[in-house]
Symmetry: C2
């Protein structure tokens, strides 16, 4: 990860991309991606973000970036898909204020300890108005919501109470470098907060949250994930347990994506979230919360799916799905152009289609739209037209195919309907042999250096295991990600201290 | 308008609704709206918001409210509709940081003067990090965006440059009472910011902005509006001209809805938004900005369309479009229920349909869904079923009609396709005789007291007319809204000072 290299409130672009000219889709960038994803992921990612025009790092507050249209068009579709699944599962949308009074924070002690250092505080208005207490830009909304839940929930009839909001949060992370979408001081997420009458129902919600992540992230966004129950030293501040998805990458490193937290009654007690039960007794609710960070998921997705030519996007998320490139020579201009326009008119009814009429070479156009990750490119030249054929190139695998123009529509339907699933299958296949079993720390180091995830015995994922986890980190640079959700414990000895293993854990490097 | 009646950082609910119990759709509210919209708009609005469960005012920061699901579901659809029209007209979405460095603000002097008193300032982080300068929670994004535009715009090829973002803004308005959706310290809007090569093109964008407002607000949301060019003393800080839509209400008062601002080169010069023109000369761009405040439009819409039974909503914006109420007596339960479930299954494919199976009286259900504004209610009892009929009640006019069940689908199609347009026509008809011409201030007072809008001659809408406008306000409680866009000046004398009139202005009370 590149480091912030000044402290003047500005983030510098990586040197390789700093001087490149802005294009905004109008001046073609003919260079493609010059860094190799395999050799230098960090620079590759920076160059991808810059050349595909996804984010601009030149905003003049440290840790804050501008999201550009090509990214926002996909991010909006990702929100729609996640929200649809949440609503189908009974969640209703809310919009909460983005400021939280300091006194709300102080009610749950682990929570305030975990988040207080990262809070941006609003202390004054321009007119000199003084607040009785500081106002936090929400780093997460538990302490704003649950105070209101205490008004909104009265009886068992109100349960389950399932709500979500799509919003941004702010966290002044001090130690980590900004990386657009993956890590920044303002990011965009969904947070769902649910209240149940019993612990068992709350646990079932955690399972539903995981199912939603597999459905949306893995099936729709083609991101391979595994859910872990995080060790106690790595859980959400205030939770009983945290279950987090790790997305898998070629580099062997993982990125934490949605996490769901079993809060139990840890928040319902201080925030007084009570209900009158059927038996006439007032009881505290059991709460779960779930935080798919859409901007981070977008970053992970482009990092995982992209290649050295640029972006690769799931079909439904691509801002444009089909680009038509006419291959024009002087004598044949009119017929080719006319046919391209006809095709555009037909395809536009079904796909987000773009006809590229710029006066640059076809090669430049290919590069440009490969960087942008348009799933399907159509090429039509006079020789194709003479045979009533058109060339289809799919971005995900670079496959080229000539088909009769009359069969185009049928061919595209097939590609459209299989494109994302093919992406997903290819990703899952990559990680078939990703996990290796290790018996000692030397094996762990070798495995993570070989871009693998390790499965090993571990003395404990309670707080008393943290010392061994620190040794893992020091010796290998990797982290104990937790126990795999739903997997049976099978190991005898701790991979670090050789004491009897209470848990079978997974270890990997992470971003 | 009710006033904030304490200064302890809490907003009190109006006394009439303060003690009412939370229902969240589960415990029926049998009371309906008790205030009359005509007699007491302010209390009626508060009660509507509370009983239809649209917002909760009990959030513990002054001027900040929680938006509840029934409102958010409509607001999300309103965003979708507006964004679709913006994108159709060539605007691309951005997501900008919500914090703006103080130094950005200082670059345009009228702008900073206008907004500085209302800014919420972030001054510190929880970890004690000191910023070199204060960070503003954006009250509007000109000063964040145009600094970036200076990077993004290079040549005439980049123009027109049309961008929008959907986001919230914060304004610490000191003097005005909070009213959910209509006025609060955090609200949700869209802002579009466009750059052109010439003033004429920028002026054409202002026209497009007005057309979009008529298309979306008037045609889709059924809100009657008129656009005025605001007097110079009432324009956007930093603009050459401000054109604002006033929405018309039964009370005779208007509410300002989207406004579009011709900024010319007022911002492009300090923010260095330049482009290389075709002639090889570097020039400053001409900027326009446009700010449809969706949460405020929602508030205006429910205020304008609602009646003493509760909400009335445009068909597409209703969270649920059809509610089915079975009329059940013991002996006939099964057949009626079964038929209702059959009908629900069919209608769900086309409409957002709800079958109300609660064990409360049919009358309570009618009241409840009338308050919530569901456009169509279906009632089915054993006598209807015996005749193969079903009763359709439309919310907007209370009309009741019995139709053969086999014709239901056809009937609903007709109602769905005309519902919103009928709402719009009914609103426009109300305001056919809304404007009256006045010759002196006594006539103006009489007219506005009679809930009319006044057309009158006015000495000037430049700054030298502000004195006469102050007299209008003092004598009548009404405001000079500006000149009607596209209307020819026709008056001879100023309605206040009797000097020759340079403009024909409109005068109305406003919220």
């Amino acid at each position: 990860m590149h480091k912030e290299n000044n402290n003047k409130g500005e983030i510098q672009q990586p040197a390789t991309t700093k001087m490149a000219k802005k294009t905004d889709g109008k001046e073609p960038d003919t260079k493609g991606i010059t860094c190799s994803k395999e050799d230098n992921f960090s620079d590759w990612y920076s160059e991808l973000v810059q050349k595909a025009e996804l984010a601009d790092l030149r905003y003049n507050i440290k840790g804050f970036v501008c999201y550009m249209p090509w990214a926002v068009l996909s991010i909006k579709k990702m929100y729609e898909k996640y929200e649809r699944v949440l609503e189908r599962n009974g969640h209703l949308p809310l919009i909460m204020p983005s400021l939280i009074p300091e006194s709300n924070f102080l009610l749950e002690s682990s929570h305030v300890a975990g988040f207080a250092p990262e809070v941006f505080w609003v202390t004054e208005t321009g007119a000199g108005e003084k607040f009785q207490e500081r106002l936090a830009l929400r780093p997460t909304s538990e302490t704003a919501l649950y105070r209101m839940y205490s008004y909104w929930i009265r009886s068992y009839n109100d349960l389950p109470f399932k709500r979500y909001q799509s919003c941004q949060v702010w966290r002044a992370e001090a130690t980590k470098a900004t990386r657009p979408f993956l890590r920044a001081r303002e990011f965009h997420w969904i947070e769902a907060h649910n209240v149940y009458a019993t612990m068992d129902e709350a646990k079932a919600q955690v399972l539903e949250d995981m199912d939603m992540a597999y459905e949306v992230l893995q099936d729709e966004f083609a991101i391979p994930i595994i859910f872990f129950q995080r060790p106690q030293w790595d859980k959400f501040p205030g939770a009983i347990h945290t279950y987090a998805a790790d997305a898998l990458m070629d580099s062997g490193k993982v990125i934490q994506l949605p996490s769901t937290h079993l809060l139990g009654q840890n928040f319902s007690k201080p925030f007084n979230v009570k209900f009158m039960d059927k038996d006439g007794i007032e009881k505290y609710g059991y709460i779960t919360c779930y935080g798919p960070a859409i901007s981070r998921i977008y970053g992970a997705m482009i990092a995982i799916l992209g290649d050295d030519k640029g972006l690769i996007l799931p079909f439904d998320l691509a801002p444009k799905q089909v680009v038509i490139v006419p291959i024009i020579f002087k004598e044949s201009d009119d017929a080719v152009l006319k046919k391209c326009q006809e095709i555009e008119k037909i395809l536009t009814k079904k796909y987000r289609t773009h006809l590229d009429l710029r006066t640059v070479s076809a090669g430049e156009k290919y590069n440009h739209w490969e960087i942008k990750g348009i799933p399907i490119r159509l090429e039509l030249g006079p020789r194709d037209l003479a045979k009533d054929e058109i060339i289809i190139v799919t971005r995900k695998d670079g496959k080229k195919k000539s088909v009769k123009i009359e069969e185009l529509s049928h061919e595209l339907s097939h590609i459209a309907s299989t494109y994302t699933n093919d992406l997903k299958d290819a990703q899952l296949a990559k990680f078939k042999d990703f996990v290796v079993d290790c018996e000692n720390i030397a094996e762990v180091k070798l495995a993570v250096d070989n871009k693998k995830m390790v499965r090993a015995g571990f003395c404990s994922t309670e707080l008393d295991g943290e010392k061994c986890a620190a040794i893992v980190e020091k010796e290998t640079g990797a982290f104990v990600r937790g126990t795999k959700f739903g997997e049976k414990h099978s190991k005898h000895k701790c991979v670090v201290c050789n004491k009897p293993a209470k848990d079978t854990v997974y270890i990997a490097k992470s971003y």
